[in-house]
């Protein structure tokens, strides 16, 4: 059998083009890619690992339930570490190489503030769990928050201080957008209630000694101290308060009460400590909460925290949106904007005009002599 030169060239052309066509077909039929920028290593991984795990669990559950109209989702993770620039690089890598249909961003507001302009350029919806109000105030219509904003948390902490009959509250806060924002909102709330704060003390993200701040507030006569902190420094604050012999109640933001932080402190460190948590994750309430806690613990060997639960709920919301309106970014965004009373495990989600989906939290305190948190009051804010 002989082949002409023209026939040979046609064969070469066909062989060259065929894989491209097959690839396009596969991409259309293949997995739906979802990007997630998560602090998997470094000090912020204390909470980052929780939603790294929770998103993997959600991926399994969504795919086990038939995926999105027959297509599986695949979450591609990039590590943000503890750096804003690394977070932006992680996001850009996903945007340029993976091109996901949806994003999950870090729970750390400073990282999300850095990433937000890039997200706006590529115009794809994203969910995040950072609390700083400034993220939502930035006018990025592609961002959707799946945990209480810091304004909500701060109001919950002020509510806790009122329950403790605070007359001279003091505030210690981590010096970043989260801490400063929360502290200022709380200070305004106290001012409006006629109990202005006696002092506000700051600390840096890498600081390890807080005795100066605590002693200063004690010297000013603070009868309750509010703490706006991250997990590791939050645990250290609670521990050093006991080492300094502080007697007044402490009200901490949610990060110091996640399991990763609680494993660093003793029951004695939690004596006289109240706090707010995004969701009261007590398996004894039964139902989907108990099932989630049990499955998470079985899969990863640790207790889940509210951050992980927020991302799990967020992933299920995303999947439902994709099933209903497809992958078009604008259609998906519009679906989220109009979402009302979506029953998640941690919260009932309704997104407002700024993309805030959660407006409730729980005030808790440690049961005496234990590290078990008990519900003081569920708070729903407008």
């Amino acid at each position: 059998m002989t082949m002409t030169r023209q026939g040979f060239l046609r064969l070469v052309l066909a062989a060259s083009v065929a894989p491209v066509g097959a690839g396009l077909a596969l991409a259309q039929q293949g997995d739906i890619l979802v990007g997630a920028t998560v602090p998997i290593t470094g000090p912020l991984s204390l909470t980052g690992k929780q939603y790294h795990n929770a998103l993997q669990l959600a991926e399994q559950d969504i795919n086990a339930a038939g995926g999105v109209n027959g297509r599986k989702i695949k979450i591609v993770f990039e590590d943000t570490q503890a750096s804003n620039s690394t977070a932006v690089n992680a996001f850009m890598k996903l945007a340029q190489e993976t091109k996901p249909a949806f994003y999950f961003l870090s729970s750390y507001s400073t990282q999300n503030l850095a990433t937000s302009p890039e997200l706006k350029k590529i115009a794809v919806p994203a969910m995040y769990a950072g609390g700083a109000d400034i993220v939502a105030e930035g006018g990025n219509e592609w961002l959707f928050r799946v945990r209480p904003a810091d304004a909500v948390s701060a109001r919950g902490m002020v509510e806790a201080a009122k329950l403790l009959n605070a007359k001279k509250p003091g505030i210690i806060f981590i010096q970043n957008d989260f801490g400063q924002g929360g502290a200022q909102i709380a200070a305004k709330q106290f001012e409006a209630a006629g109990t202005p704060v006696v002092g506000m003390e700051a600390y840096g993200q890498n600081d390890k000694d807080f005795s100066a701040q605590m002693i200063s507030l004690r010297g000013k006569g603070a009868d309750v101290i509010l703490l706006f902190n991250y997990p590791q420094d939050g645990a250290l604050l609670l521990r050093q308060a006991k080492m300094l012999g502080l007697k007044m109640p402490l009200v901490t933001s949610s990060a110091a009460l996640v399991p990763a932080a609680l494993q660093l402190i003793s029951p004695a460190d939690l004596d006289n400590v109240w706090g707010v948590v995004d969701a009261y994750m007590d398996p004894s309430v039964g139902g989907r909460m108990a099932e989630f806690v049990a499955r998470y613990k079985k899969a990863f060997g640790i207790d889940p925290d509210p951050y992980g639960l927020a991302y799990y709920d967020g992933a299920l919301i995303m999947a439902e949106g994709m099933r209903k309106v497809g992958l078009d970014p604008k259609a998906l965004r519009d679906w989220l904007v109009n979402l009302r009373d979506w029953p998640g495990i941690g919260h009932v989600y309704t997104f407002d005009a700024k993309g805030n989906g959660v407006s409730d939290l729980a005030i808790v305190k440690a049961r005496s002599g234990t590290k078990t948190l008990e519900l003081v009051k569920a708070v729903k804010l407008d």
């Binding site: 204390l46 890498n206 390890k208 300094l244």
Partner: protein, 291 residues
């Protein structure tokens, strides 16, 4: 007054840890001319040696502490053999960059070995407080100050009252002259690295219960120890002690009486002032030119 006493003793405790790290810095610099930028990671390794021996292996306090310090001494010797010896004929900048690289390797090795989650290292004096002038002082903080004071005394005895220490000082002053005098220079240099590692280990063991054992804890310590060394005087042991205590006290008293938001700024502003006005630090540098 009680508040001041509490702040002062906590500042001394923190400053003592910085001083120990700074002494390790100075010993290595004096003996080898190398600024060890992995010094902070040495302290971090010390804390994790404590975690490995006390928390993981479950050894009793004295045995666990001794085992952790032995491990640190072995690590100092290993550092000398693997990092310093191959690089010692290279330009000083190469050696310095080598210590930076090894510091990064150490941090990542700890991350691989222990993970990114911090550990709680419990003090033998956990939960005990002492009343001094109405101030509740943590017994551990008081122990840190006392142990550092004892160590400073022992280091002085080593360097000024033993043949070994005098030999180490001779090597620090002039390596060639020391070799011509029949001293085993390599052994003495190795001992300098081992001593620096052990001091960093003690700093790490003392620091563990005050902070948490965390793979990222080395950098802030190195920065403060560096500031302490600049302020006290590069190459000066009394300078390292005074500088460390000054930085610790400034950090806490400045945060309480001036501004907590700018507490690091105060210590580093003083360091910059020294660099501009008195670069040799408070105690100057005894060795101007190495042989």
């Amino acid at each position: 007054m009680a508040d001041f006493i509490q702040l002062f003793i906590n500042g001394l405790a923190l400053g003592s840890v910085y001083a120990l790290a700074a002494i390790g810095f100075v010993i290595v610099y004096s003996a080898t001319g190398v600024v060890n930028f992995a010094a902070g990671q040495f302290v971090m390794f010390g804390t994790f040696a404590g975690v490995a021996m006390l928390a993981n292996a479950g050894l009793p306090w004295p045995v666990g502490y001794a085992a952790a310090l032995l491990a640190m001494a072995a690590f100092g010797a290993l550092f000398f053999i693997v990092v310093y010896l191959p690089l010692r004929t290279s330009p000083v900048v190469t050696v310095i960059i080598g210590t930076v690289a090894v510091g990064i390797v150490m941090q990542n090795a700890a991350l691989l070995g222990f993970g990114s989650w911090p550990f709680r290292l419990v003090s033998p004096l956990e939960g005990i407080t002492i009343d001094i002038g109405g101030a509740a002082i943590s017994a551990h903080a008081a122990m840190v100050v006392v142990v550092t004071g004892l160590l400073v005394g022992l280091i002085w005895l080593l360097f000024y009252r033993t043949a070994l220490g005098i030999g180490m000082r001779a090597v620090a002053q002039d390596v060639e002259a020391a070799r011509l005098m029949g001293l085993n220079v390599n052994r003495l240099l190795a001992l300098s690295w081992m001593l620096a590692a052990v001091l960093a280990g003690i700093a790490g063991l003392l620091l563990g219960p005050m902070w948490f054992a965390d793979v990222n804890m080395g950098d802030p310590i190195a920065l403060k120890a560096f500031a302490a060394t600049i302020i006290g005087g590069f190459g000066s042991l009394p300078g390292a002690i005074a500088g460390g205590l000054f930085v610790g006290l400034t950090e806490l008293l400045g945060a309480s009486y001036l501004s907590s938001a700018y507490k690091d700024l105060i210590a580093f502003a003083v360091m910059i002032l020294f660099l501009l006005v008195r670069p040799q630090g408070v105690f100057g540098e005894r060795i101007q030119d190495r042989g």
